[in-house]
Amino acid sequence: MGQHENRVGTKELVAIIFIMMGVKVGDDTPPILYDVLKNAAWMGPIIIALLTAVILFVLFKVASAYKQKGLIDIVFHLFGKYLGWIILFVLWLGISAATIIDSSIYSDIIVTMYFPKTPTIIIYLLLMAACTYGAKKGFGQIGSVSWAVFPYITASLIIALVISLRNGTTAFFFPFFGPGEMEVIKESIIKTSILSDYLFLFVFIPFMKDLKSFKKASWIGLILITLILIGGIMSFLLIFDYRSVQMLDYPFHEVIRYIQLGFLTNVETLFFPFWLISSLVRFTVYLYISAVIMGRLFKINNFEYAIPALATVFVFIGYIPESPDYLIFHLRENLLNILTPIFIFLPFILWAVAKLKGDLRREKTN
């Protein structure tokens, strides 16, 4: 897989994890939660994070039995050539669909909120061209870039959230349990796949310095993501109240249009660039994961060269739906619902098979 010369360390991976999942606070993820959880939407990330923690724990158990092997090798090893291929193919379809749908949504955000006169396809092409450029540079470079932009992105997000929290009304928290306690737990579990990117991160184990730094980064990342998601969802709720916030397509962008920094109005132009950079990095990682899995599936050794072609296909598929408001949002929700069982059960199946094969025990005696 090349790239061994610049492996990724803990801090870079924390940055990647944060940008992949924490930045979802700025897209249509909060509305998906508001839709079902109403004003208890901020509890969603807590439940999702707890469940993810369990899944991560199981995955680490499996991963530590195979030292430096990544998800791809583990799946092939445990399920054999054919069944393994099918499972990986499903995963590849999952990550590719996520890339296509999310990138389509992001270009829609850019067009509707910032550049209403520019054709969507141009924005989309530019977005993906930049991501292709990044992805071709390899995982080491992606890690460095993520770490370089991480402080700015976090700072701009936190400033935006703190200002909006100050404008909020705490009474909007109530009725405290929103649609009902059981409903909150049930719907949160269905939406667990918001953090399913974690599963795909396990592909990167061979690119890491060691498994220990991978574990450490995953835990730190999980805490950061949960905090930023809770903070974001709370602050949008406290500004708009649950009925209004449900109706917004992109609450983050509405909020940065509403808040003022002292005498400064129209501050969205201060936050937009950072958000844009984070989305670029995000899709770069997505594209790269997709290319890595595809490389193994179809035996393309120099998969980096396939990235531009892959990106082009993604753009064209992503551009097919004529109205993102309807189709894409539904696709995204459906995709999340489909990915959830995979994200929850696959780790347990991996663990069970590894246990049956006796691989876990060998790890202990070593």
């Binding site: 109530f174 929103g178 009902g180 708009f240 109005t265």
Partner: protein
């Protein structure tokens, strides 16, 4: 060669910085500061009025635009405010932009239409319109209001409206009303929304209380064509249903536990002398404490406690309130009683006339329920008109002006 291609690629990227199709050149745009909405005549759904500001006006280097006015107002029929941008270009040379728009003004007639809300939602569609836009209701046609309101000293409209509305909010004569709050309260449908109220029409009336007037009712003279902003327009579920006077607006501020108005100067009856009133700066020690209890799904019992700090400024009866503790107590009790009585009247009015309240009490009621379905089935809106409301005002008297003592009349005229 490789280097050259790189340089070329980077140079090409510079082109993108202009923003592709969305590049905007400042001098090629007409900047709308205020959008006015009126009911359309005959077949036209609405009538749009724009105040377009002149960026050249009042700048240091007045090039060719020295004699241009500060703003222009245009009115024309339209289907909606977004297509109105293009329609306006029939008369305006430059492309219309709402980038610096700060005010949406609607006429009372239009706001009272059941269909009014349909056009309001256009404002959530255009990316140039922000939710911190102020919403103003005018008594007359908004087009007349915006056209004829020509303040003498603040000639630049953005400066004038900004200051006038800011000051109005600081004195609590008009409510704080932006689009975000309008949509929020409209969508919950449980509270009344108060919007700023203004007019150019003068209809002076005589009232027993000094602050008990609405826009247009203040007997002011000496200035021509200047608008009055006072009181509020009451909206229920996106439709205007009435008005509140400036005093009622102030009381509504005090009764709302999510607001914390500071520094409104009010007048109260002097308990020692019927003829005179005392003026005092009223501030809240803390926002009103609203206690709400609901038993057996019946109408709520609402207890409101308002801790006020009042600095008395005038003393026309020349009674020694400062030194005489018992007289001070009398004044305190009298103010408390007066405020409580006025607040009770206002609450009764909201119960009888509007069947809903603008004090944000539904938010307190929400705390009594653990889930949304429970709260919805309680049906707050139905229960409010029968609510038992008890209000207690607690006054702490602060300073009595710069010089606290005044001589007794008897001593002065021996």
């Amino acid at each position: 060669m490789k280097r050259l291609t790189r340089v070329i690629v980077f140079l090409l990227c510079i082109v993108l910085l202009a923003g592709c199709w969305d590049q905007k050149q400042v001098e090629k745009h007409a900047y709308v500061f205020a959008i006015g909405l009126d009911k359309g005549e005959e077949n036209d759904p609405i009538e749009v009025t724009y105040i377009i500001v002149n960026p050249d006006y009042g700048s240091q280097q007045q090039g060719g635009g020295a004699n241009e006015p500060a703003f222009e107002t245009i009115t024309f029929p339209a289907n909606d405010i977004i297509s109105a941008k293009d329609t306006a270009n029939v008369i305006v040379a430059k492309e219309i932009t709402y980038d610096i728009a700060r005010l949406v003004s609607v006429s009372e007639d239009f706001a009272k239409e059941p269909d009014f809300i349909r056009w309001m939602y256009d404002l959530t569609k255009d990316p140039e319109i922000r939710r911190d836009l102020q919403l103003l209701v005018t008594k007359e046609k908004t087009s007349d209001f915006l056209k004829n309101n020509k303040p003498v000293l603040e000639t630049r409209p953005h400066e004038y409206y900004k200051q006038a509305l800011e000051r109005g909010k600081e004195t609590s004569m008009i409510p704080f009303s932006d689009l975000l709050t309008f949509f929020r309260i409209t969508e919950t449908g449980e509270d009344l929304y108060l919007s700023m109220y203004g007019t150019l029409e003068k209809t002076p009336t005589t009232n027993e209380s000094t602050d008990n007037f609405k826009a247009g009712e203040l007997k002011a003279s000496g200035i021509s064509g200047q608008a009055q902003f006072a009181g509020s327009a009451v909206f229920m579920q996106g439709k205007m249903i009435g008005t509140l006077t400036a005093e009622e607006t102030r009381l509504a501020y005090l009764l709302n536990n999510t607001l914390n108005p500071q520094g409104m100067v009010m007048t109260f009856q002097d308990p020692k002398h019927e003829k005179y009133k005392v003026a005092g700066r009223v501030s809240l020690d803390s926002p009103a404490k609203v206690k709400l209890s609901i038993r057996d799904n019946k109408s709520p019992k609402i207890n409101v406690h308002i801790p006020l700090n009042i600095k008395i400024f005038t003393n026309h009866s020349m009674v020694n309130y400062t030194k005489d503790y018992s007289k001070k107590e009398i004044l305190k009790k009298s103010i408390e009683k007066e405020l409580e009585q006025k607040m009770n009247t206002l609450v009764e009015k909201t119960k009888q006339e509007y069947k809903a309240q603008p004090f944000g009490w539904s938010l307190t009621a929400r705390k009594k329920f653990s889930t949304i379905p429970e709260f919805n089935s309680y049906n707050w809106l139905k229960k409010y008109p029968d609510a038992e409301v008890s209000i207690s005002v607690n006054v702490r008297l602060g300073q009595f002006g710069r010089q606290s003592e005044v001589p007794k009349m008897k001593e002065l005229r021996k």
